[in-house]
Structure formats: structure tokens, C-alpha cells
């Protein structure tokens, strides 16, 4: 119940919604803005539209040993090198390894998500290429038809020109005869 109230309070801070006169377009603008911000925060603003995978909740990392403690630890480790795996298993906290593995798996997961998003983008561009191919094909067909039509019209014009010349010559010849 408390969780629900908390999340409603969080939403009321983020979204401005007039419940009486709901406007989906306005809500969607806010949703898009928030999604874009989240994506930018997750991917450093370089990701594509689909590559908006949020990283998983940050995996806890163990604090690295520092200072004197680190030195002593490394010396003891070197001294006990042959027995170190057993020592480590028995004496040192094993959860560090587990945490590292979890962190590695987490990073792999995030990488996989990004790769998947890229595959989707590639599929999308393939679709665009197909559409462009159809467009080009149609343009070529239309241009070919126009060219054929153009040639036919040119031919007709030439014929008309010749007819016109012929009629002109005939007119002159007839004029000559009449005047003679």
C-alpha cells in the first residue's frame, strides 16, 4: 500500500495530467520525453531509438582492499601461493568472486541487449532498402514509359514537319502555276 502511494507521489511529480480533460497526445509527449531522458542517461545519449535498454540495477561491487590491508593481503597470498585456492576458499570471502561473476554477467547482458537492438535496427534498414528498391523500380518503369512516349511524340512531330514542308512546296507550285 505504501509502495503504491509512494509510486503515485513519484508519478505526480513527474507527469502533469488533467484527469478531467485527458489528452493522450500530451501524456505521450511527457512519456516520450521521460523515455528519451532515461535512454540518454543509460546510453550516454549515443544510442539509437530502439537502443533504449536500461542497464540492470547496478550490481553491487565489493570494495577493493586498500592501503596496509591490501599489502598484507597480497604478501600473504604470495607466501601461500601453492595453497592459495584452498586458502581462498576457506579463509577469504567467496562472495567477491560471486559478485564479480554477477557483474560480468550483468555487463554481458547489457551488451546482448544493445546487440539485439542493433539487430532490430539492421532489420529495419533492410526493410527500408526493400522499399527503396521498389521505389527505384517504379521510377525506372515510369521513366522508361515516358521516354517511349517522348520518342513517339518526336516521331509524330517530324512527320508533321515533313507534311508541312511538303504542303508548303505544293502551295508554292500551285501559286506559280496560277500566276503563270
Amino acid at each position: 500500500m505504501e509502495d503504491k502511494e509512494r509510486s503515485e507521489r513519484r508519478l505526480s511529480n513527474v507527469y502533469k495530467i488533467d484527469y478531467e480533460n485527458l489528452n493522450v497526445a500530451e501524456i505521450m509527449e511527457q512519456v516520450k520525453l521521460k523515455a528519451a531522458k532515461r535512454a540518454a542517461a543509460a546510453g550516454g545519449g549515443t544510442s539509437g531509438p530502439e537502443d533504449t535498454t536500461e542497464p540492470l540495477a547496478a550490481a553491487p561491487e565489493s570494495a577493493p582492499p586498500v592501503g596496509l590491508k591490501k599489502k598484507i593481503k597480497s604478501k600473504v597470498q604470495r607466501f601461500l601461493t601453492p595453497f592459495f585456492p584452498i586458502q581462498r576458499l576457506l579463509a577469504f570471502p567467496v562472495h567477491e568472486d560471486l559478485m564479480q561473476t554477477v557483474a560480468e554477467l550483468h555487463r554481458t547482458n547489457v551488451r546482448l541487449d544493445r546487440l539485439q537492438a542493433k539487430v532490430y535496427e539492421r532489420d529495419l534498414s533492410q526493410e527500408y532498402v526493400k522499399l527503396l528498391h521498389i521505389l527505384v523500380h517504379n521510377l525506372v518503369a515510369e521513366l522508361t514509359k515516358l521516354r517511349i512516349e517522348h520518342e513517339a511524340l518526336k516521331m509524330k512531330t517530324r512527320i508533321l514537319e515533313k507534311d508541312f514542308e511538303h504542303l508548303g512546296r505544293r502551295e508554292k507550285a500551285l501559286e506559280k502555276r496560277l500566276l503563270a
Binding site: 501524456i27 512519456v31 523515455a35 532515461r38
Partner: protein
């Protein structure tokens, strides 16, 4: 007035699609007109194999005349032809051959139309892309009304459809987006058309509790109703839902209702219930937080209207212009283009109960204003009366012999 509906398949067993759309309209309009249905004997839309007996059968009070499909479709051969038609150079004859291969090849139905056209006032053809509609409209253009049920499908760009969209006397569109797309492609602005859609039948008594008990469900759930299919965007829905679950502490579940042709991921919060009865389906919808519509291509989406009829909000795929447009016009649902938007929108909807209620209320209002059967019947009647008016004007203006 005698009006004949022509559709690729017709049976009470068929749920969804243009077939159900046609059946509901035919049954409702039989109150106003003398209605008959012409269809094929096919039950399967992939092969169109003859399954139902031929001849006349009365289905819910409407006479249905079935014609045999001459040659079933060979999906592999058809796939090859379609690939060549869509992505290669081809002639007009190739497109006609593609149409024959797509089927359902029913020359007997066309012969019947030719023989009986004088006894019929109007033919209403459903689904522009099939053989019966193309040749039917071309056989009786002056008596035909086309209900295209068109989506953003690559085949709509074929040249033969450009001509087809200029042939009928009138159009009955499913959505504003469908009308705009067809007018953009064929410049058929001169052909009158009315955005109508289809009504739906919602049981008066929906009991979410009964559904939860029957299927062992507890807690909030989202529902998807329809064929679980890649073409319906279900693969993306699974991906997005599982990512949402892994990134949030939400206990929401996903309930899937309908047949499946896609493997469903094994996850404790994904519940596949298969094909359910209408009552069960509506009980499930009434108990859901919201309806998910991941489809990329829809000409209307009857299930979205059903959700709104029950006052439920919708979260739809914005890549489908029709769904996004319907959500904006109704203010009854949100939409997403990618995972980030899906995450934000779903997070908002699940956390904000007043928003869900307000969206549901708006959806219900939109449904009441545009999709109740009184409204739909009125629109069909007005289209036909407009054509009658035109006929009268033509007969007055035409010179007497």
C-alpha cells in the same frame, strides 16, 4: 432492397478478421434489407481447401451460398510469386496471376454474380486483396460497395489495386487512417466513402472473479487477446514484457488469450490460456488492468473496441497508425514506439489507477459515440441511401430514348 455480402469465408466458427466483421454486419443489416451472403467453401485462409458443404445454408437467419474453390493455394509457390511481385520487375499480367494464386479462386461465384446481378440492388465486398473482391467489383462496378479492410501491407502498392480502388460506387472504411492511405495511393477522392468500422457484442454480465478462479490467477494482470503470432507483434511483446519484469519489481502478469503459432516463453508471470469462449474472454478482459495491442498492422482491431466497451484502457503499438490514431482520437489509451516508451507508459499506467479509469471512461464514451450497432447500422443505411439518391439523379438527367 436486396443486398448481397461477398466475403472469402463465412461461418460462426470463425473468430476475428474481415470474416467476423462481415458476419456481424450481415446479421445486423438483415433487419433492414433482404440480405444474402456469397462465399467460398473454404475454412482455412492459408490453403482455401473446400471444407464446408456447397449450396445454401441458413446461418443465424442469413442465407449463405457457398461456392467451391477451384484450386487450393500452394503456400510455397505463392510465397515465391509474391516475393517476385513485391521485389522484382513485373508486368500487369503477373499481378493478375499473383491474384489468382492468392485465391480463393472461385469463378463459380463470379458466374453467379453475373447471372443474378439484375435481381440484386447492391453488392458489399469485403477484403480488397482477394480474388472475389477484385473480380467481383470489376464485374458489377455500378452496384458495388467495397469494405477494403486494408492495412499497411506491401501488396496494397500493386498497380491492380490502384485501379480497383477507383472502381466501386462507394467505400466503407474502417478508420480514418485506412481512408487516408487508400486515397493517397489511388487518388480515389471522387469515390464516396464513409468511415464506419464495426460494432461489437459485449455480454452484459462480466465477472472477473469467475475468470480468476477458473484460471488460478491472482494479482494484477495485462491481457493480450488474439492470435499469438509474429505478424501480430507478439515476439516484441514477450521481449518488452520480460525486460520490464527484469527491470522493475512489478508483480504484474501477462495473460494471453487466443490460438498460437509462436513459441511462448516459459516464465511464471506469462499465462497462456488458449482459445476461450466469448464469455470467458470478456470476463478476462474485464478483470485486466489494461489491454495490450502489439500489432504492427491493423485495419481496425475489434478487440480494442471491446476493451473500450468494457471501459478498459489500451496500450498499443504506435507503429500501427490506426491504433495510435484511435488512441489519440478517443483519449482511451497510450502507445509506444520502442522499449523505452513501452516501459514508461506501462509503468505510468500500472502506478496510476485514476489515469487508467479516466482512459477507460474516455474509451467507453468513444465506443458509445462511434461503434454501437445503432450507429454502425445507420452509417450502412446512409451509404446505400446516398447511392439510391445518385441513381435517381442519374435517371432524371439521362436523356430519354
Amino acid at each position: 432492397m436486396k443486398v448481397v455480402f461477398v466475403v472469402q469465408r463465412y461461418s460462426p466458427d470463425l473468430s476475428g478478421g474481415a470474416e467476423l466483421h462481415c458476419r456481424w454486419v450481415a446479421e445486423h443489416m438483415s433487419r433492414h434489407w433482404d440480405v444474402e451472403v456469397l462465399t467460398t467453401r473454404a475454412a482455412d485462409y492459408i490453403t482455401w481447401k473446400n471444407a464446408y458443404p456447397g449450396g445454401v445454408e441458413i446461418v443465424n437467419g442469413v442465407p449463405v451460398r457457398r461456392f467451391a474453390v477451384r484450386r487450393p493455394r500452394d503456400p510455397a509457390r505463392f510465397g515465391r510469386i509474391q516475393e517476385r511481385i513485391l521485389y522484382g520487375e513485373h508486368k500487369a499480367e503477373d499481378e493478375l496471376r499473383w491474384l489468382e494464386d492468392e485465391g480463393p479462386l472461385v469463378p463459380a461465384l463470379l458466374g453467379h454474380i453475373r447471372r443474378t446481378r439484375r435481381e440484386v440492388d447492391y453488392y458489399i465486398f469485403f477484403s480488397y486483396r482477394y480474388y472475389h473482391s477484385y473480380w467481383g467489383v470489376n464485374t458489377v462496378p455500378d452496384q458495388s460497395v467495397l469494405v477494403p479492410t486494408a492495412e499497411h501491407d506491401p501488396v496494397i502498392h500493386l498497380r491492380l489495386f490502384k485501379d480497383l480502388f477507383r472502381r466501386p460506387r462507394a467505400f466503407i472504411y474502417n478508420s480514418v487512417e485506412e481512408r487516408d492511405m487508400i486515397q493517397r495511393l489511388s487518388a480515389n477522392h471522387a469515390v464516396p466513402g464513409l468511415v464506419t468500422g464495426v460494432g461489437t457484442e459485449v455480454p452484459s454480465d462480466c465477472r472477473p472473479g469467475r475468470f480468476r478462479r477458473k484460471h488460478g490467477l491472482s494479482g494484477p494482470y495485462l491481457v493480450y487477446i488474439g492470435r499469438v503470432d509474429r505478424n501480430k507483434g507478439c515476439h516484441k511483446l514477450f521481449d518488452f514484457f520480460l525486460r520490464f519484469k527484469s527491470l522493475t519489481a512489478s508483480d504484474v502478469k501477462l495473460v494471453l488469450i487466443g490460438g498460437t503459432v509462436l513459441p511462448i516463453p516459459h516464465h511464471p508471470d506469462i499465462h497462456y490460456l488458449g482459445i476461450l469462449s466469448e464469455q470467458d474472454k470478456f470476463d478476462g478482459l474485464a478483470g485486466a488492468e489494461l489491454l495490450l495491442m502489439p500489432s504492427f498492422y491493423e485495419s481496425l482491431s475489434m478487440v480494442t473496441l471491446e476493451a473500450w466497451a468494457l471501459g478498459k484502457p489500451v496500450l498499443a503499438n504506435a507503429h500501427c497508425e490506426v491504433l495510435a490514431g484511435q488512441c489519440r482520437r478517443s483519449n482511451g489509451g497510450l502507445y509506444y514506439r520502442n522499449y523505452a516508451e513501452f516501459h514508461e507508459a506501462l509503468d505510468l499506467l500500472l502506478a496510476d489507477a485514476p489515469l487508467r479509469q479516466a482512459l477507460g471512461r474516455n474509451g467507453r464514451r468513444y465506443y458509445d459515440a462511434h461503434y454501437t450497432w445503432e450507429v454502425i447500422e445507420g452509417k450502412y443505411l446512409s451509404v446505400i441511401s446516398q447511392l439510391e439518391e445518385e441513381n435517381r439523379c442519374r435517371s432524371i438527367n439521362s436523356p430519354r430514348p
